[in-house]
């Protein structure tokens, strides 16, 4: 197989080794708490990366990605319960529906840019939550849906989660380093100038939102299987949408791997803060967010690069 020239062997190897280590870890050391935490981290990584394709690469910050996460989750759950669809196929189906739903609202709203788009996504997220809460046939209303539980399912899902996170990581890399990624950055910089040099901004933005939404939906399906009970208030919650924004900002918005790092920090920190300071934890996130935006707009990635004196990653991509 011919390897595209934009794939760096070191990056591919790093991802491979990390995945292999994580895949073997539970076999060597069985710990239910760590097992659960890691699975949730995988989910966070995949979702944060998918959010970043739109929010970081294209600069279209969405506060409504829970709409796709929730829809994908409920479609997958409904397919499993009512049609007996196998789990993974149900996730993919949920993902496809969520991606198409993203296109439905994204095609008109992606013409807006910056804060205007963000405001629209808040509306989309809330409207979707309300409508789906009333759609008993899909979501079971506010009492939600329970999925069939099989023994060892939760244990096995660890590896599914790892696979989803790894695929999202590979996709982030491919999206960014291929020529498509270059066009996305051009659109982010100046959408009209990009159109003037032949970039089909509408089509590319739609494509990215579809991919992002479909991945979100897949994550929602995974979440449904993992917890075997879902309800609309949680799945479509605004705080869920915010959590992906936070992961992106903490890790480094628009960078390839930053949001994955942000997801790790976010999930672990939340676990610790909720246990230790349940009243304070949202406030502490707020402070963290302010500090990041004030001092290091590229988040932890920016900090790391500064420490290692590397060029800024939202710049330099191609070497001639």
């Amino acid at each position: 197989m011919k390897v595209p020239p934009w794939i760096r062997p070191r990056a591919a190897m790093g991802l491979g080794i990390a995945c292999a280590a994580l895949a073997l870890a539970p076999l060597l050391h069985a710990d239910v708490y760590a097992h659960n935490l890691l699975t949730l981290t995988f989910l966070g990584i995949a979702a944060a990366l998918a959010w970043n394709w739109l929010g970081g690469y294209l600069g279209q910050v969405s506060f409504g990605h829970a709409a796709m996460f929730g829809l994908g989750g409920f479609v997958a759950a409904r397919a499993e319960i009512s049609l007996g669809t196998p789990m993974v196929i149900a996730w993919c189906f949920g993902g496809a529906v969520a991606g198409l739903y993203g296109l439905l609202w994204g095609h008109p709203t992606l013409r807006l840019r910056g804060p205007y788009f963000s405001i629209a996504t808040i509306g989309v997220g809330e409207a979707t939550r309300l409508v789906c809460t009333y759609w008993d046939w899909l979501t079971g209303g506010s009492s939600g849906l329970s999925l069939p539980v099989t023994p060892h399912l939760k244990y096995t899902l660890y590896w599914y989660g790892l696979a989803i996170a790894a695929l999202a990581m590979a996709a982030s890399y491919a999206l960014r380093r291929s020529s498509l990624g270059l066009s996305l950055l051009a659109i982010k910089s100046d959408v009209d100038a990009a159109s003037d040099v032949g970039v089909s901004a509408t089509r590319l933005q739609d494509l990215v939102l579809f991919l992002s939404g479909a991945t979100m939906g897949l994550c929602g399906g995974f979440y449904a299987s993992y917890f075997s009970y879902i309800e609309p208030g949680d799945m479509f919650g605004f705080d869920r949408s915010i959590s992906w924004v936070l992961m992106g900002v903490i890790g480094g918005i628009g960078t390839i791997a930053g949001p994955a790092l942000g997801a790790v920090i976010f999930v672990l920190l939340r676990q610790y803060l909720i246990a230790s300071y349940p009243q304070l934890y949202l406030g502490l996130y707020g402070i963290l967010l302010v500090l990041v935006i004030l001092f290091e707009p590229l988040g932890l990635t920016g900090l790391l690069l500064r420490v290692f004196h590397k060029a800024r990653p939202d710049l330099a991509l191609e070497d001639a």
Partner: protein, 242 residues
């Protein structure tokens, strides 16, 4: 000589204001046409309509035999009509090389290797190749105007619309820019329409000039005739001096 671009009765209204009013113009293959007029005459709006970034209220645009009226900007660019911007708009987050590479990939539709070759070649042509790893923020205004042209050339245009690429740069750079525009026409077989306030450059470069005033085409002809034209002088300086 064959005609490469033709606009017929091109008009644009913004509410009650006629920014461009029934302008008809034609560009010969391999020539440079000057589009001049006082500020607010509708030159940039004309460019926007030719390049597809603004939809005309009325009128038609043809590239060769093909009608391109109302095509979205990216399609007009791929068809071969590419514009530069009066106020330069580089992609600040991309290196100079990547700025041209985007155009070579998306507009000229080259594969990766072909696009890289084209981008390098265009940067060499415009004299930016040595600085290709830098970012547009490091360039002078003249440099950014060159980049604007390099990016447009990476689209492999048939017709290049240059919106005031000389105005605002120092006299030495202006000389170089005149040379560059001439080389684009001679060596790359690109036909050019340029708007410009620097009349010396227009006189030296353009075979023909059309004059806009208040959205209407008031004169067209060779540069020598145009500067004698009473109506043109009145448009620029007022009736008293005509």
């Amino acid at each position: 000589m064959t005609e490469v671009l033709r606009a017929e009765g091109l008009s644009k209204r913004f509410g009650g204001l006629k920014a461009v009013d029934e302008v008809t113009l034609s560009l010969e293959e391999g020539s440079i046409l000057g589009l001049i007029g006082p500020n607010g005459a509708g030159k940039s709006t004309c460019f926007s309509m030719l390049a597809g970034s603004t939809k005309p209220t009325a009128g038609r645009v043809f590239l060769g035999d093909r009608e391109i009226t109302g095509l979205p900007a990216f399609r007009a660019a791929r068809a071969g009509v590419v514009r530069t911007h009066q106020i330069v708009r580089p992609f600040a987050n991309l290196s100079i090389f990547e700025n041209t590479l985007v155009a070579a990939v998306q507009c000229a539709r080259r594969d990766r290797a072909g696009a890289r070759g084209l981008a390098r070649e265009v940067l060499e042509f415009t004299g930016l190749d040595k600085r290709r790893h830098e970012y547009p923020a490091g360039l002078t205004l003249a440099g950014r105007k060159r980049l604007e042209m390099a990016r447009a050339l990476a689209c492999c245009p048939r017709v290049l619309l240059l919106d005031e690429v000389i105005a605002g740069v120092n006299p030495v750079e202006a000389q170089e820019m005149v040379g560059l525009i001439r080389r684009i026409r001679d060596q790359r077989q690109v036909s050019i329409i340029m708007t410009e306030h620097v009349m010396a450059a227009v006189m030296r470069l353009c075979e023909r000039v059309v004059v806009l005033d208040a959205g209407r085409l008031i004169a067209s002809g060779e540069p020598k005739e145009i500067v004698q034209n009473q109506e043109v002088i009145a448009a620029y300086l007022g009736k008293k001096h005509a």
